[in-house]
């Protein structure tokens, strides 16, 4: 009975994961001995990204915008979103960097908005993934305890 539910649970996780193919890499790094990996790395990503987005807003709000600093932040965000598999955020960051190079404040502001949007989109997806992952791992440990 438990085995059947486990299987269903796993299928659900797989199905949800397949909707969000981009996170396969991160998912594949999780296993029984490291059941919290996805949660851990995704939470770090959220924290990191939101901090960076705030920094970006602040930096672009200055009288004299330090484009180097802005670019450094965008580079960081681009890097971590690439590691997670958040392709669209990554791409939006790439565009953003162009405008930094050109020292184009309007372009940067538009890009920031874009990056923000993409980020919140991916955040939503990741939160679903996290929920499903948590459910399946906690179910699994439950069934391990009781088998």
């Amino acid at each position: 009975m438990d085995g059947g539910l486990d299987l269903l649970q796993k299928q659900l996780v797989d199905y949800v994961a397949s909707l969000f193919n981009e996170f396969n890499q991160i998912q594949s790094l999780q296993d029984e001995s490291n059941p919290d990996f996805v949660v851990e790395v995704v939470s770090l990503f959220f924290e990191d990204s939101e901090k960076l987005l705030n920094e970006l807003a602040k930096s672009l709000d200055q009288q004299d915008v330090d484009f180097k600093k802005v670019d450094a932040h965008v580079h960081q965000l681009k890097g971590s979103s690439s590691s997670i598999g958040a392709q669209r955020v990554q791409n939006a960051c790439a565009t953003f960097r162009h405008y930094c190079d050109e020292k184009n404040i309007e372009g940067c502001l538009t890009c920031l908005q874009q990056v923000r949007n993409e980020y919140f989109l991916v955040k939503g997806k990741l939160e679903i993934l996290l929920k499903v992952t948590k459910q399946s791992t906690s179910r699994h440990s439950y069934s391990q305890l009781h088998s």
Partner: protein, 250 residues
Amino acid sequence: MAKNVVVSRRRCPDGGDGLDLSQSDNPQQAHVLAVDDSLVDRTVIERLLRISCCKVTAVDSGRRALQYLRLDEKKSSGVDGIKVDLIITDYSMPGMTGYELLKKIKESSAFREIPVVIMSSENVLARINRCLEEGAEDFLVKPVKLSDVKRLKDNLMREDKYEGKDRGINKRKLRDGCDPSTCPPLLPSPTSDSSSPASSQSTSLNSSSPPLSQSPEPDSSSPSPHSSPPTSSPESLDSPTRKPKLINVD
């Protein structure tokens, strides 16, 4: 349908199972120093390394890395018992770049033998060349995959067992998914390690460069004494931007 959700427990051949608990106990495990200022990337690379059965120390800057190696102190070290088998570092970091860290390591008598691998999100040929010329073992384009790390680890372990000229052969055998026992034996790599100045590095580059087709024909790709496979060799099975382009390191 995603097939990548791993359910079974990974087992490291030494008996460790990737859990932190086993890390400190096994002296045979490769000890890797990972350097990256991004917390997300550090977490990922650490995991990739642990899955590949390596002991990992992760730091967030070049300076910390040097501190860890005791290279920032005036007196030269190595006596302190810090044994590192591989250093893997991000390229763009504030303060000290991965390239600068690479240089410092190669300048140190105690640590210059340690292979250093550079990671970067940017696939810039000039950058890659510069790092390789400075003595980097390999250059990985981010996001780093498990197959990249496995390959590094395999190369590392092979270097322990074999010396000098045999390295070329064994590394050639090791491709993604290629089991040494099932791969047909290749002829010795026509490159003699002594043929180029940055010899050990170029050998490593050749072997860890994008996998050529796994055909057993030994010489189809090596017309020149340098034996770098032709630059136009087929791209790896992974996406082309991920692996460094083949370069003649002279």
